[in-house]
């Protein structure tokens, strides 16, 4: 990240941050394998409704579209925060982080609504193999987003109390990787789970 390079940090620290970024990429790769296994399981089980609700019965495209909009928007606002970080504008970093948090929280709010609604209709994860796979895949993504939200809060506190120091900027960079990664996973969920389910 350009901001890290533009700050005065020793070559050794720069090397350390690069190692951490590389390690985090590897973590994301292993996380991608987790999602790949969950996607494969979902595709194997999507037809196993066991006489219960099918994708057509339970998916609401409007809600899924709203969730998509919130999450994609949050990735954009995170990008704006990253630009503010490069510019060294702490106030703007805090502002855009807060907006990103609200958008992410909105996504989670909608998803919890979707899940509780489905469970109330008798379409909970214990109803059929299809629903188990659906709740696990989408729920795992939701869990990741929730962890991301906690991370944003921690990041907010670090920027607030420590300022835009090199270690803080380095962590901010990895939070960005994580947040955009979740966006990509969501796009795949939308295309593999929701769209074929209702079309």
């Amino acid at each position: 990240m350009s901001s890290v390079a533009s700050m005065t940090i020793s070559p050794r620290d720069a090397e350390r941050y690069e190692e951490k970024d590389f390690g985090f990429w590897l973590y994301l790769m292993s996380d991608a394998v987790i999602f790949a296994c969950l996607f494969a399981t979902y595709l194997v089980m999507v037809g196993n409704a066991a006489g219960g609700p099918t994708p057509k019965d339970v998916f609401e495209l409007d809600r899924a579209a709203a969730e998509t909009a919130l999450l994609l928007l949050s990735s954009t606002t995170f990008g704006v925060a990253a630009v503010a970080l490069s510019a060294g504008d702490r106030g703007k970093v805090l502002l855009w982080l807060a907006i990103t948090f609200l958008l992410g929280a909105g996504f989670i709010f909608l998803e919890i609504g979707e899940f509780t609604g489905m469970i109330a209709q008798g379409a909970g994860p214990d109803r059929s193999g299809f629903l188990s796979a659906f709740f696990t895949l989408v729920g795992t993504h939701g869990f990741h987003v929730s962890v991301g939200l906690v991370w944003i809060v921690v990041m907010f506190a670090q920027v607030f109390f420590k300022g835009l120091t090199a270690p803080v900027a380095s962590r901010f960079m990895r939070l960005g990787l994580f947040w955009h990664f979740l966006d990509i996973i969501w796009v795949v969920i939308f295309s593999v789970v929701y769209l074929p389910g209702v079309l």
């Binding site: 390690g23 296994c37 969950l38 196993n48 994860p125 059929s128 193999g129 188990s132 709740f135 906690v150």
Partner: protein, 677 residues
Amino acid sequence: MFGRLTIDSLPFYSAVAASGAAVTVLGGLAVAGAITYFGAWRMVMTQWVSSVDHKKIGIMYIMLALVMLLRGFVDAAMMRSQQAVAYNSDGYLPPDHFDQIFSSHGTIMIFFMAMPFLSGLANLIVPQQIGSRDVAFPFMNSVSLWLTTAGAGLMLISLVVGKFSTAGWTGYPPYSGVEYTPGVGVDYWLWMVFVAGFGTTMTGINFLVTIIKNRAPGMTMFRLPLFTWTMLITSVLIIFAFPALTVACAMLILDRNFGFHFFTNAMGGNMMNYINLFWLWGHPEVYILILPAFGVFSEVVSTFSQKRLFGYISLVLATCAIGLLSFTVWLHHFFTMGSSAKVNSFFGTMTTIISVPTGVKVFDWLLTMYRGRIIFKPPMLFTIGFLVTFVIGGLSGVLLALPPIDYMMHNTTFLVAHFHNMIIPGVLFGYLAGYMYWFPKAFGFKLNEKWGTRAFWCWIIGFYVAFMPLYVLGMLGMPRRMEHYDIAAWQPHLIVAWVGAFIIMLGMICLGVQLVVSIRERNQALDLTGDPWNGRSLEWATSSPAAPYNFAVVPKVESRDAWWDMKQRGVAYERPAEYEDIVMPKNTYAGVVIGVAGGVFGFAAIWWMWWLALLALVVIAGTIIYRASDDDDEFIMTASEVKAIEDERFAQLAKAPKNEMADEPGFAGNAAPEPAE
């Protein structure tokens, strides 16, 4: 408050179980008592438990592995004894207990013996081999260690509180589902694998980054020692294979505890998916275990043949090929489960193909010995024993790779014989060779050779006596995991196998005696030079045991076999003009806190104490956040401190004989010309 944990969970239902529990508890108390007796708590807590030094973490991993090797061996001996007497009789173990024992034997040997041993050797050696001062993420390394230990702790606790799984080490549903196996056994298995799996994944990430980013100047990829190469590929395999295990376990946990229907018989479950996911991890795991052992053999065979490794490039390429192919064979673990002939043919073919790079390696090792001047130290004995025995196992493996033959042999003791034939000489002998080869590097004195040689002979003879009869029994049609049987023809073979287990027990005893004798007589076997075997790779350039920073001055590498090259050029023990400050990671308790909380979380989830599980999660999250906000995790070791340590090292070197191997018959000397390849 205590979930489903009641007083009935204590093992008073059977004398055998109760004595196992008693041994476990007394063993724990004995260790605690010994630490108290020697007044060592302070040292243990401040220098070991909180340590982020990769060498100490490596030693702790290997201690864990050796303890679990003993525990896993006891399970094996109990099974062999049961089967030796169980012809037309119940023997001494009730079926339920026998099933727990074969499940725990496999689980322990794979997850808590082999995996920690591998991580331990890697921690001890890889950074030193690549001329690095540390691993990339020392703190994460400590978290990995303590999560693995937490998993092993759950394993030991299962002996005392509640029962262990009866579903084998693979935990196949639907049997491992809640419908057929209620109770806590399978949950113990699931949570210990889950917790330890996180630790392993982090180890994979750590070592991949370390090897890619932390090499000394001049240490190009094609100059890496073979052990480091195998750890590099192993790390890749860990990163891509372990997530599949995590997913399979998580789904089974959801099925068992929250009524999901991934792998149930009814309601749209599909149990085959578990088996696919499990072996999508499980087959690469075989290579995760064996590749580092191949690395050890490569180091040992060239050092003790006093010759450069034959066919270095082909060994590296074979390692990479095995890494790729290991993801294309998983279905051979269930040829008989009704996939089409085309699918079975594909996986049968791939399985046969993967034996090719392995064969390449065997030839490389043989040709390294050819025209070498072999010195028969215990690590070399284990290597030669491996070469002979492993080829037999490989041949029975190619046999099983043919689906029609697999249909005949499926689930018989032939298979049991085959994979023990790969894992004992391939993995365990490799790790034991590595343990004896690198022990002086870790502790500064050599292991006793006489007892090491005895251990080797007991292990190899015991192996043949114990497992060759199982090949015969498999052909006679004996299924694996039999608790008792009524076919007279089987018993003589089972008695022979029992004798083999007894001989292996002598091997275990020799290993123990070797350690005790070596510690007692350590002053006669001191390794003052840091290079007791006239070694070739960079780990022998450091002192034994290595200083906390490994290298006072990061070495410049100009050739493969970097240390040998330095010795030949006469720059090996050059004293630097001056030293610099070295930045070191600070010790921290955060790693052990996360590990303990991980273990508590697992225990609470097994017994449905959800409040405690939540509390443990909060502790883990809090520790991570605390740690992630701490920018002050390093300290500076000043140049004068480094100089003091190095001065002592050079004083020691001046006293030491330059080459401790020089007394060996056939010693080739440091600058001996290399026989042409």
